[in-house]
Symmetry: C2
């Protein structure tokens, strides 16, 4: 591996020391090449009569982990999707007057270009083929032959992807102005995804740091990144992030709109908001969180709460409604919003302005009242072929989580659910990533499609790089555990190989298969060093030492027969 | 607060900077004084018409957090239970020939002194009154008046404790040779408890470190501590730990027995094991893990597994059975073992030698076959009035956890369940404390009474002090979340106060009410410092900054009406 450049903004974040290579699987319908990270194993393991000396992994890091790629954040990533030849000048036009460096495109007819549009027409897009290949991880044979716990799966086909999108059960957030994107799919019949939030606030953080955190998030496994910047330089930060991001980028446009009116919520207007949507749409934002479901009728319920409104967007809109004595303009203008979204194929993430901020507020009238409105809005968006996902809580005690999933499916017509946690207690500050991973695993096992990560800094401050890593990995544990609970064959294979490596004392394989190879390798090394040993591959477990290793004894017992 | 001594072995681990004081609640039946840590709040909060300007917390740190206590690990803690006047020379004798410093005691008649014995006779002991007071946390009025989610609780009475112990549904592990103990109860109708494992192995760790880790564990909230030492100085380490431990200490006596036969499992004999039990009984160990349920008939099932036998004690006994072609002597001698246990009131923790070490092995014939035998042995122990808990897995995918709890209740006659995790995936090395907290929360919400912690070093090496802290707090989150799910009024009160403090921007109260006040305070301080602010109590949330604080806006919106 040659590391070509070091850059002050984005230090080389390529994955070092892991025995893996970047591999690509080609499509058959389109000239797509889906990148994966394929682990080389130190030996051949037999699982269910199949032999594995390597393991392809779902890879979110894009070109950043490709040693052949010359890193240059100023230039950005190559426009991958433009090489697929799907767009033509009859459907998409490049607009010359622009605020961004790249010439922005839009649908000529103002629509007819979204993934949902094509899906409903029965047309498979390159993005659909891409995500189908990606979800299978080049393990079609294994998926076909393997079943666990009575659950039988089949490889994902482009046609299955199309049907799920047509039904509104899944989305591919992919703005036509984000050609650097490696498409991914969010839906409960696919791998559970995680989102990482980044963004500066008035209290700190610089552009460079945010770009670095975005790349850093993908490198650890974030499937999407939300740029929640609220401070200065919002536009420029987002531009940098988009041009360097292989994953979908989401934003909450009301934050920037609020900056434009000097932070006075009551001064917001539809026109300012609309222009902000278009500005971000042209830059290539893949999904917008829009708090269109909070209505004036909900506010009295929110006021009875212990912690009121804890969503930033929600509190802005509540303030606007009260000050102007009018209904939420995001609701009244929702069709206009959809007309913009369909022009760029931006997915809408319907924000849960009234998510509970304390377990005492969970599952109350405010929360479920808004959820019903989100269900109505889902139908409106679908009229425009706009892809929809629904945001969810928040703080919810464990025994009340299932009801959230049930009601979401019922009210929102099976549109994908995307939750923040839920956090299962209010008192875990400093450890809220764990708190969130607990609730997240449970709701994802019930069908939640994407988990928004929470870092150890939640409720306390802005995350630094290490917090981002901790937050991402905690939610990778949650998402993967939910995939296992749902019987995903590719998830089960990874665990089986890990355990076979563990039983074989194949330490290098254990490190590489784990969710954080660098941390496991370093932990093991430092433990061995502390005990004065330097064996790299001891044939015993390092917790118990050579004489008390249960697996060693267990094997000896079997062998002595 | 004056810190009286610093000691090379046990540095002062008292809780610094937290606005709390050690308070004591007196019993009415016995002269017990139950220590709690009472938080002083910066203001008065109203919850359900009751006012709180302080909050008593369940406290596991014993005299270690009492500023009036002179710390001297060489001397150990005062013999608290000896001041309660329950024992008399008709029931307990002090034995003069001894291997330990303190003169050991035993039942004169070889029995008739266990908590279960008294409970069945209808007699309430000081230990029963102690734990009843402790569970209520001096919040009887709140418990009586408060209900959430339709679940009504009443304060715990000494009589309720007695009845639960008589029924075998709960245990108070309290060896008569551990008078330093502050009694605690393990059972599903009480607060969920957590255990912390410490112990040196041949690979590292010294006595001083282990004593320090024991005290450190209690200081962060461990309810019991298991000393799993396997290296040299087992006896001396245990002696130091016991004399300084306010929480019950558990051990796995087969480890020391194995040392006595030079590490050769096949050379173990009943006599060596028996003598080890007595040696540890006299020192004051409160509960023994005994792997009496693994039988020869189970071994073929274990051999079919992906990861065989991963319990250290289990692998030792499997090896012994095979080498000697005899049934497990812990099973055949189980009545003799119970005769020893009842003489000191040692609880038995029936070990799950065949717990799954990989999710593929979960809920298999080996595991559930052994669990049935543990149910039989429970009945045997109860014949001798020996208190019993049952150890559980291990690696179990999320959707298979509930079956573990159901089968345990069914097979083991409602004896308390004590699980290691479960870990919900095999690939989370480096983050297994999170992995374990996820499965642990779920099983505890179903009725598991105690969670054994797992640290970030699981599968990789021995935990250091920081790993112990991370492991303890992760499982405090899990246990507390399960208490909330079970509707515990004292658990709900803490969350409500936290959220009221959060909504009031009462930062000091938030730090103090959280599970790790030091970490939250430091995180907040460093975030503020990074942004150039030095306000100690800003009136906005430090994640979003002053202009985007949703709670601030939410309040303003309410107030502007």
């Amino acid at each position: 591996m040659t590391h070509v450049t070091e850059n002050a903004c984005c230090p080389d974040l390529r994955i070092n020391g892991i025995q893996s290579e970047k591999t690509f699987v080609r499509g058959t319908l389109f000239p797509v090449e889906v990148g994966m990270r394929t682990l080389k194993l130190s030996r051949t393991y037999t699982c269910g009569e199949m032999e594995f000396s390597s393991l392809p992994l779902y890879d979110t890091s894009g070109p950043w982990s490709d040693p052949s790629f010359v890193i240059d954040p100023e230039k950005g990533l190559p426009p991958l999707r433009d090489t697929w030849g799907f767009w033509n000048e009859n459907s998409v036009e490049a607009k010359s007057e622009s605020t961004s460096a790249r010439t922005p495109r839009k649908a000529i007819d103002g629509g007819g270009i979204t993934q949902m549009y094509f899906a409903r027409k029965g047309i498979i897009t390159p993005e659909m083929e891409y995500v189908a290949i990606r979800e299978n991880q080049n393990l079609e044979e294994w998926i076909s032959r393997f079943s666990r716990g009575g659950k039988k799966h089949t490889p994902i086909t482009p046609e299955f992807v199309r049907a799920e999108i047509a039904a509104g059960r899944a989305i591919i957030p992919a703005n036509i102005n984000h050609p650097e994107l490696e498409p991914m799919i969010i839906g409960r019949n696919f791998r559970v995804k995680i989102n990482s939030n980044i963004g500066n606030s008035a209290l700190g953080s610089s552009i460079d740091e945010e770009v670095e955190k975005a790349v850093w998030s993908c490198r650890w496994g974030a499937d999407t990144v939300m740029d929640l910047s609220t401070g200065t330089n919002i536009h420029k930060t987002r531009q940098w992030i988009l041009r360097n991001s292989p994953v979908p980028i989401g934003t909450v446009p009301i934050y920037q709109a609020l900056e434009k009116v000097g932070g006075k919520a009551e001064a917001l207007t539809w026109e300012i908001y609309r222009d902000t949507l278009i500005e971000q749409a042209e830059q290539g934002v893949d999904y917008f969180t829009i708090h269109a479901g909070i209505l004036r009728e909900h506010l009295p319920f929110a006021e009875k709460r212990l912690t009121g409104i804890v969503s930033r967007g929600g509190s802005i809109m509540a303030k606007w409604c009260k000050a102007n004595k009018q209904e939420n303009f995001l609701y009244t203008r929702f069709e206009d919003i959809c007309r913009i979204l369909q022009t760029y194929d931006i997915a809408v993430s319907l924000g849960d302005a009234l998510r509970p901020g304390s377990i005492l507020d969970a599952n109350d009238e405010a929360q479920f009242g808004e959820l019903k409105v989100l269900g109505e809005l889902t139908k409106v968006a679908w009229k425009f072929d706009v892809q929809v996902m629904i945001e969810g809580p928040g703080h919810v005690p464990l025994h009340m989580i299932e009801e959230n999933m049930q009601k979401q499916l019922e009210y929102c017509h099976e549109a994908p659910f995307y939750t923040l946690g839920p956090l299962v207690t209010d008192i875990a500050a400093g450890y809220d990533h764990i708190n969130s991973a607990i609730g997240g695993t449970l709701i994802a096992s019930y069908g939640c499609a994407m988990l928004c990560y929470v870092t150890p800094k939640e409720h306390l401050g802005l995350p630094d790089r290490n917090d981002v890593r901790e937050g991402v990995i905690a939610h990778k544990v949650a998402a993967h555990a939910a995939d296992l609970a749902k019987g995903s064959p590719v998830a089960w294979l990874r665990d089986e190989l890990m355990s076979r490596a563990r039983y074989a004392f194949a330490w290098e394989d254990q490190f590489n298969i784990s969710l954080d190879p660098e941390k496991t390798r370093e932990s093991h090394r430092s433990s061995m060093a502390a005990s004065g040993r330097t064996d790299v591959n001891p044939d015993f477990c390092t917790m118990c030492g050579p004489d008390f290793c249960s697996m060693k004894k267990s094997k000896e017992a079997t062998e002595q027969e």
